[in-house]
């Protein structure tokens, strides 16, 4: 069942079939030419910032929400940071220079907001009580059976991600959930691509062990 979800359009096919994980992680917009981001840019060129924001919300709203949920591990915090991110997107759109795709740019804002939230909580010495027993709002696009499977996997994935240091969790999520290349991640974080690659490589065994112990990734 979980495999069916993974095989749905848009699912990441990283290393699925061949001898090696040969799928190059790419920006979806690069694969389709300018793609849907072109519409956003057109709206911006018309000065229609509200329409540009609406389009970006449609394109990346769910992905950014899931990134925030997994980074923060808390639905209420994720709601707040997610909305703050798109609020900031609206005000910063006039200064978008095209130095990266809009997707990376929006992720970059979300990442900063998530890191700020994590830092703020650390400073207040408030432990973020993460990892709800079951996720309360799983995607409505899923069937009931898929929702049940996701609910179970989500709980284990959240717990295993929580065990990773924040920077490792961030890098893992960008790489495999956000499907970014290390170069894109470097643009986003300001760190060296090689550093990020090493961080991901070091975190994967811990994540694998944890998920296998939970019976998720076998």
């Amino acid at each position: 069942m979980f495999q069916e979800l993974l095989d749905r359009p848009g699912a990441h096919s990283y290393g699925g079939n061949g001898i090696s994980p040969s799928t190059t992680v790419q920006d979806p917009e690069e694969e389709e030419g300018a793609g849907p981001e072109a519409e956003v840019l057109q709206a911006l060129s018309r000065g229609d910032r509200k329409q540009a924001l609406k389009l970006l919300m449609g394109l990346y709203g769910t992905a950014i929400y899931n990134y925030c949920r997994h980074m923060l591990g808390d639905a209420a915090l994720a709601d707040d940071v997610h909305q703050t991110t798109f609020e900031q997107v609206f005000f910063d759109l006039p200064r978008y220079r095209g130095q990266s795709s809009l997707r990376i740019w929006v992720y970059s804002i979300a990442r900063h907001r998530c890191m700020d939230m994590l830092k703020m909580n650390r400073r207040r010495e408030q432990h973020i009580e993460t990892r709800e027993a079951l996720p309360e709002v799983v995607s409505e696009e899923l069937t009931a059976e898929e929702r049940a499977v996701i609910a179970s996997h989500g709980k284990h994935l959240a717990r295993c991600l929580e065990l990773l240091p924040e920077k490792a969790r961030d890098a893992i999520l960008q790489r495999f959930m956000g499907q970014m290349s290390y170069e894109e991640m470097a643009k986003l974080s300001g760190e060296r691509a090689a550093t990020l690659q090493m961080r991901v490589t070091r975190a994967l065994p811990d994540l694998r062990r944890c998920l296998e112990q939970a019976g998720v990734a076998r």
């Binding site: 979980f2 495999q3 979800l5 993974l6 848009g10 699912a11 990441h12 990283y14 290393g15 001898i19 090696s20 994980p21 040969s22 190059t24 992680v25 509200k50 924001l53 919300m57 769910t62 992905a63 929400y65 899931n66 997994h70 639905a75 709601d79 997610h82 909305q83 798109f86 609020e87 900031q88 609206f90 005000f91 200064r95 130095q99 970059s108 804002i109 900063h112 700020d116 709002v137 799983v138 996701i150 996997h153 989500g154 994935l157 495999f176 959930m177 499907q179 290390y182 643009k187 974080s189 300001g190 690659q197 490589t201 994967l204 065994p205 994540l207 694998r208 998920l211 990734a217 076998r218």
Partner: protein, 227 residues
């Protein structure tokens, strides 16, 4: 007989980079098993991006926030226009209630020597943003008879210290410097003032801020996000 661990030793980095793998990893049972495990991890993470839906009304909530922030900005700029006799590029001024005896910090941003690219209120949760290459102009007024220093941090790491920089200008009134913000990240400025020598930089914002408070006065600016 010991298990082959070549995959984690040699193949994992290439796997994580999406690069072709040595045929050994498909022919060796131990490595094949490890590879399958990592592929399952990656598939799980790939699906995690669609695991949750945001609240149904989140888009409306974002637009409501935008309306609120616009209203706040209008109030701020009305106040700013009344307070400043000339159009200033100030992003924010940090000043305490102590009048002339307190250190003050003024920051502004410019793009390639041009005009300020962003100004806004501080202390209301607003975030000042800039782009790589923008220049941060720092002007610190240090009360007479006090020692001071001006430091800039990217994240928690010290990236600029006025007293140790050849580009820092020391005058009777204080310190000033122009610092290019070359890399993405969250920048914060720390202004220190003390009757005696200001504490040596420990290298992290938290440590330096705490040491500054112990020695005298320490003021942190709101964050500047370089995106």
């Amino acid at each position: 007989m010991t298990a082959c661990n070549r995959f984690e030793a040699e193949g994992l980095e290439r796997f994580a980079a999406g690069e072709p793998l040595d045929p050994h990893f498909e022919s060796c049972a131990d490595c094949r098993s490890a590879l399958a495990g990592y592929r399952a991890v990656v598939r799980t993470l790939g699906a995690a991006g669609r695991m949750y839906d945001p609240p149904g009304d989140w888009e409306q909530r974002v637009f409501a926030r935008i309306q609120r922030r616009r209203a706040q900005r209008r109030r701020f700029f009305v106040g700013l226009a009344a307070a400043l006799p000339v159009a200033a590029a100030a992003v924010f001024v940090l000043r305490s209630a102590g009048g002339g005896e307190a250190p003050e910090l003024e920051l502004s941003l410019s793009r390639g020597g041009g005009p300020a690219v962003r100004s806004g209120p501080s202390g209301d949760g607003s975030v000042v943003t800039a782009a790589p290459g923008d220049v941060l102009h720092l002007v610190a007024r240090i009360p007479r008879g006090k020692h001071g220093d001006l430091r800039l941090y990217r994240g928690d790491a010290l990236v600029f210290q006025c007293l140790k920089s050849p580009t820092c200008v020391v005058s009777r009134d204080g310190l000033s410097a122009d610092v290019p913000l070359e890399r993405a990240g969250t920048y914060r400025t720390l202004l220190l003032a003390a009757e005696g020598e200001v504490p040596e930089a420990a290298g992290t914002l938290d440590a330096d801020y705490a040491a500054g408070l112990r020695a005298g006065e320490a003021r942190q600016s709101p964050p500047i996000e370089v995106l």
